[in-house]
Symmetry: C2
Subunit: 356 residues, 2 copies
């Protein structure tokens, strides 16, 4: 097959990890007889510097025309004091909305040879395989009004958490579809004892559940979920929740795997191209030093092959190679403790390539 | 001294743990020459059953007239399907608002003899001593509108996150005051890369910091904070945040201590009486069986002595007794693993009383 992929390297370590991931894609192309064409575009702080816009129109056009998008990371202290519309994150939020990427999949698993790296005890995290499905284009991230205002002569600020029925239905349905081919369990997380939007969410989740007789649905309050993810993460199969809860819980859950440098994500729409990206940030402090861990981005490419191109075997070949590379003992700086020696970003990729 | 305390036993295990805590108060009274008078009132589901109101006016009046309030817990499946204004939690939210309890203190520490109970590794949690200061009367819990509505002919729901300058100032100032007599560090947690209310929060936190030259202020995004609490909780001294973030992060942080049955809280206003309560819920499944751990409520009484009555020595006497009781090996069911034997709610209290 021939596929066109838009690369959005972004800021900080983004360009390094995206470059490494394309090396893996190329190797897959050779081994399995596919052709991957790349086109590169600007996003985030880099785009602000070049075009005074964190999401230039050209970038959006290129993305729309491609089969999938690979994103590095955006942001950095340089742009922290910029006005809201010129902040790198705004580019990310806008592209999610423009491409209607309502569904953010964040699988959390743990590589066998890293099971002792987590700060959570081995017996609690061993064999973890959970999937967080985060709503990505609604809630407090996009609700209006979101502004400063004057209340009783006093400075104030307001944000709005709102959800429409159709927005909740499509993300919950997606969670059920994914659970059907996984462990058959959906945990819907909300704050229904306080929020009206959560009560609507819970009601609709119950309705959707009727469509899936083979999947069980349970509800959990977000504060309890934050606890249960540490106490007993193995109880979860698919966890579905609204945008901001998903942001918080998925970062928390990433700690199960020992390093933020390991976890991939996919942001999907109903039809158009999705964005595949590591869940880690731009890590400006280590940018350009060959210290970044490329595995989260490489695993994101594995998700791309699976979800965008239906290349299951190719996707598994990558995940197997990552596992073997880690089993062979190579570690990037984020995974090194004590006197162990760290390999560079490129060397880690070389090892993965070796096992493909 | 003579003090009047309103007891709000509430639902589930609430009555049991409140009864045990008053036994500890009585012993303190005898040992230190104080007189504690109790008056009991209804809240939560019990109040709904009796008065069709989760916070009857009589309850509020009694609370207002007392020197401090000791609350057990509210809620249970029985009332889950009741309309919003008749739900047990509504009683809790209304009393917080009525008494203007804007500041919720949730200390997280770990008893030496329980350091191995946490699912987080011992070397990460040993010696933890952090204080979460949660804003308790603003944000999504109380913002208007919070309602169902019709958007483009579609069912929808909205909640509102709003903060006024004065609301942010008083809670952040409280955090700084507490940090001054602790480790001298405030970590303000927000989502300033997305929310306007967070940007106002951050701006005001920076202003308040100027009043406290001996305290350092840092900012952290809430998703990162959810991670750092597991990765390296020792970096925190005082963590201050808005209502819902505080709800999520404090429940998460409770896992550091190994059991939810251990952690106390205090909800304070500028002048009137505060509410002291365990952070655990009403645990209806174990109610009335003598299985509940009374230590969180007993530790809440220690907070009451310290914050409401300025009885520092008395407060320490309780905390020392809890430590010694645990060192002696007694464990309630929530703390028992393997073949160890569990003591009852009353026996745990007896052991604490023994060491006072
Ligand atoms: C950068 C930020 C706006 C973003 C978010 O909050 O969604 C990030 O934390 C993420 O999870 O992708
Ligand atoms: C019962 C519920 C409304 C409450 C809250 O969310 O504040 C509880 O979780 C708490 O933390 O005290």
């Amino acid at each position: 097959m021939e596929k066109t992929i838009t690369l959005l390297p972004g800021d900080g370590i983004g360009p390094e990890v995206v470059t490494e991931a394309t090396r893996v894609l190329d190797k897959i192309g050779i081994e399995f007889g596919h052709k991957f064409n790349y086109q590169t575009a600007a996003i985030g702080g880099t785009a602000v510097d070049q075009f005074e816009d964190p999401l230039p129109k050209e970038t959006l056009d290129l993305c729309r025309e491609s089969d999938a998008i690979l994103l590095g990371a955006v942001g950095g202290p340089k742009w922290d004091s910029y006005p809201a519309h010129l902040r790198p994150e705004k580019g990310l939020l806008r592209i999610r909305k423009e491409l209607q990427l309502f569904s953010n999949l964040r699988p959390v698993s743990i590589y066998n040879s890293l099971v002792s790296e987590s700060t959570i005890k081995e017996e609690v995290v061993r064999g973890i395989d959970l999937l967080i499905v985060r709503e990505l284009t609604g809630g407090l991230y996009f609700g209006e009004p979101s502004e400063r205002l004057d209340v009783d002569g006093e400075e104030a600020a307001v944000d709005t958490l709102s959800y429409k029925r159709s927005e909740i239905e499509r993300i919950v349905r997606m969670a059920f579809e994914l659970a059907e081919v996984r462990g058959g369990k959906v945990m819907s997380v909300d704050k229904a004892n306080v929020l009206e939007s959560s009560r609507l969410w819970r009601q609709i989740a119950n309705e959707i559940a009727e469509e899936f007789p083979n999947v069980t649905l349970e509800h959990m309050l977000v504060d309890n979920a934050a606890m249960q993810l540490i106490r007993n993460p193995r109880q979860f199969d698919v966890l579905v929740t609204e945008n901001l809860f998903g942001d918080i819980l998925s970062d928390e859950a990433s700690m199960i795997s020992g390093s933020l440098g390991l976890l991939p994500s996919a942001s999907l729409s109903a039809e158009g191209p999705g964005i595949y990206e590591p869940i880690h940030g731009s890590a400006p402090d280590i940018a350009g030093k060959g210290l970044a861990n490329p595995l989260a981005t490489i695993a994101s490419v594995a998700m791309m092959l699976k979800y965008a191109f239906k290349m299951e075997l190719e996707s598994e070949a990558i995940m197997d190679a990552i596992n073997q590379a880690l089993d062979s003992g190579v570690r990037t700086a984020d995974l090194v403790y004590g006197n162990q020696e760290a390999v560079s970003t490129t060397e880690m990729t070389d090892t993965v390539l070796h096992y493909i």
